[in-house]
Symmetry: C2
Subunit: 199 residues, 2 copies
Amino acid sequence: MRVLVIGATGTIGKAVVELLQKDHEIIKVGSRNGDYKVDLSSQESILSLFYKVGKVDAVISTAGLANFGKFTELKDEDYSLALNNKLMGQVNLVRIGKNFLNNGGSITLTSGLLGREPIPGSTVVSMANGGLESFVRASALELQGMRVNAVSPVFVKETMEMMGMDSSTGMTAADVAKTYKAAIEGEFHGETMDVRKFS
Amino acid sequence: MRVLVIGATGTIGKAVVELLQKDHEIIKVGSRNGDYKVDLSSQESILSLFYKVGKVDAVISTAGLANFGKFTELKDEDYSLALNNKLMGQVNLVRIGKNFLNNGGSITLTSGLLGREPIPGSTVVSMANGGLESFVRASALELQGMRVNAVSPVFVKETMEMMGMDSSTGMTAADVAKTYKAAIEGEFHGETMDVRKFS
């Protein structure tokens, strides 16, 4: 398959590329590096990316920005970033990307465990994830000849270690990547795929 | 209790007022009618409302706009309305309203069954509802001395009849209202309260 990976230079994205490149042709996209660049918060940037890349069999997004922050310290900008980037950026990947998918192709987005199992400080991240998962479930009812799913990762061990956290509850990026492989190679549609069930 | 009902002139709002006014002092707020008016999409309007009303024991929102529409026909404006009004309008009721709640007070928002059980045409409604439910669950972890919940209604019989739909799967507004009463009088916190469990 010809697979477009958006967020390919991030911790999860790199592991996804590593896992998939044995069997698939990978086009790597980052916000600053990669074969191509994209700004998820801009529809023009997304459209321009797809015009340059052309038709693909699968789109994987491991991208999308949203900040952690105490509820009482969250600013309007924190809400906007989560909604415009992590949520609508990925929604727009589906709205635009569906026109550049070969028949039977798939789009796989990234939400996160915090949508369903929040922690203190995760309010805007959780909100974006919850919105994205419901978007995927609803839009899948109408999207024909293609599949759309959200992968819901737990915290990644490598990130936790980098941040000085106890990483015992985390999962390696290599293990998280297996769920993206299942999403593009399987028959899932409209699902939120919890990485704990696929590693 | 002194209860602020936002959306008091709508189908569900009227039934909530009817049910609660026997035991509580109700302040009715609508977008165009009521004791006070508010534009949920404007933080200034919400702040102005609370400054006029003063402290309350409970805030109930049965308001929030989001359009139905086929996925392929949804416009940017449909996404914006759902996010700015139904989602962020109600989120801002919590961000601002928490400063005008008496100790132990509550804020009860309205999501809807479509967040978890979408139908064709419900994409932006589902997205807003899903985001709102995750927001409620997450913010509740940090909100002290107050409670926040979302009521998740099914389709209301009166609305279905008005729209010429088969109303056999619907619930009367009077029955839906019972869940809002449970939300303000009970101990729930951070919950999405499915009206089918409370009528």
